[in-house]
């Protein structure tokens, strides 16, 4: 693409939820990939610039939310048939032994989005490793990114403020992610889907009225009424933020891996494993909010056993996560014992 997001011959996973953004993204990636592949014979001089030659995959995460994700996955399956792309679906139930329905039953509707977000992030990376892709593309649009910038400002989350505006992640350890629609307005995407008669799923998640993002969204729309360029201006502001290492402690933490699952983590236990530990032990608050105290209280005495049950001594009461390093290309999910 013109921002040089990928290289010729890259294998790319499109994170597909069945919603408007990912459906339009899959459609456009497929369209451009084929259009410029066929042109290569005729336009040699364009080759360097325009030939994509990408190997595309659809990657979906099944959070296990009945009445929502099961229906949207049907949309993804229909799109898979239409676009003829290989599809991989990973479910929370298989990965973590907890579906979102189970989690909400356990912890209620407060904070459930924390679980979902953390689990999805890791699930996508796991899926990408299984597919052997070089990159994940997501359907985040300009409106989404501007909302996220506002939310990070309101929350005072300096570390994410700039990072959330990168079109492509810069971390060395994980599979790169990019947002080809970073500068594409939501309106354009919806219009495109409408006029192209694309089949997308349009119901909001039943567990997330998502009040906080909703406020940012309303505020953003009000701003836009006064100043039409607001969205791109806010993204630009986010990009322009530079923070020094001292004011931004998260930049200087040493990247490592989680003791238990091998996923990239700046602590001994990654966020997903911490949340899971809380769920499995009936202490769902373990990974939420300021976790330092609870972490110390509940994990120090368990620190030894954590090492144990990640290796061989799995008991039925302790479902395990497959180690990240054990994931193989094309490997299917192992079921917990």
């Amino acid at each position: 693409m013109f921002l040089k997001l990928n290289e010729i011959g890259d294998k790319i996973a499109i994170a597909a939820s069945g919603g408007k953004d990912s459906t339009v993204l899959a459609h456009i990636m497929k369209l451009l990939n084929e259009r410029y592949l066929n042109r290569k014979i005729f336009f040699h001089w364009l080759l360097q610039r325009y030939d994509y030659g990408l190997d595309l995959f659809l990657l979906s995460i099944d959070e296990g939310i009945s009445g929502y994700r099961d229906d949207s996955l049907e949309t993804v399956k229909r799109n898979q048939l239409e676009y003829q792309l290989p599809l991989k679906i990973l479910s929370y139930k298989d990965l973590y032994d907890w579906s979102m329905d189970d989690i909400v039953k356990e912890i209620g509707r407060k904070n459930n989005c924390t679980f979902c977000g953390v689990f999805r992030r890791q699930a996508l990376d796991r899926g990408a490793v299984m597919l052997g892709v070089d990159q994940i593309v997501t359907g985040h649009n300009a409106d989404d990114i501007a909302e996220t910038v506002l939310m990070n400002i309101l929350r005072g989350d300096i570390a994410r403020l700039q990072r959330c505006t990168f079109i492509k992640t810069k971390s060395e350890e994980t599979i790169p992610r990019s947002k080809p629609f970073k500068y594409t307005y939501e309106k354009e995407i919806v219009m495109y889907a409408y006029f192209k008669k694309l089949d997308y799923f349009s119901t909001e998640c039943i567990y997330s009225p998502n009040a906080y993002r909703g406020h940012a969204r309303v505020f953003l729309k009000d701003l836009e009424a006064i100043r039409p360029s607001t969205i791109l201006d806010i993204i630009h502001s986010g990009e322009a933020f530079e923070t020094s290492a001292e004011s931004n402690p998260t930049n200087v933490t040493v990247p490592g891996v989680c003791n238990r699952c091998g996923y990239m983590s700046s602590r001994d236990l990654c966020k997903a494993c911490l949340l899971l530990e809380g769920l499995n032990r009936g202490l769902p608050k373990l990974g939420i909010g300021n976790t330092e105290k609870l972490r110390k209280k509940h994990l120090d005495e368990k620190e030894k056993s954590i090492g144990e049950y990640s290796s061989s001594k799995r008991t039925p009461g302790n479902p395990f996560i497959q180690n990240f390093n054990d994931l193989k290309l094309g490997s299917d999910l192992k079921k917990p014992l």
């Binding site: 939820s17 069945g18 919603g19 408007k20 953004d21 990912s22 459906t23 949207s72 359907g139 939501e186 309106k187 919806v190 219009m191 409408y194 006029f195 997308y200 799923f201 349009s202 119901t203 909001e204 998640c205 998502n210 993002r213 969204r217 309303v218 729309k221 009000d222 836009e224 009424a225």
Partner: protein
């Protein structure tokens, strides 16, 4: 005169899943059509459609397949057999 209406992108949920319908109006502006929709067609969550007589941000309007921002928005004068498409841009995905 008869106006054709289409709801999509999740907006149909405010109309009990109704995706297409038509209404008969007297000579009127789009603004009055919205008020009519609000008072006669919406079955739930009226506040997600109009607030202070303004359409909620995030709902796209097409007048005969053309963006309403090019057609004078609320002041557009309806003609017989016009098709108005309302699309919600709900979040997610």
């Amino acid at each position: 005169m008869k106006i054709n209406l289409e709801f999509s992108g999740g907006l149909e949920l405010l109309f009990d899943g109704l995706k297409q319908t038509s209404v008969v109006v007297e000579d009127s502006s789009l603004k009055n059509l919205f008020k009519k929709i609000e008072s006669e067609l919406i079955t739930q969550n009226k506040e997600l459609f109009l607030k202070d007589e303004k359409l909620r941000p995030g709902i796209l309007v097409l007048i005969n397949e053309s963006d309403w921002e090019l057609e004078g928005q609320y002041d557009y004068q309806l003609k017989d057999e016009d098709t108005i498409v309302l699309i919600s841009t709900l979040h997610g995905g």
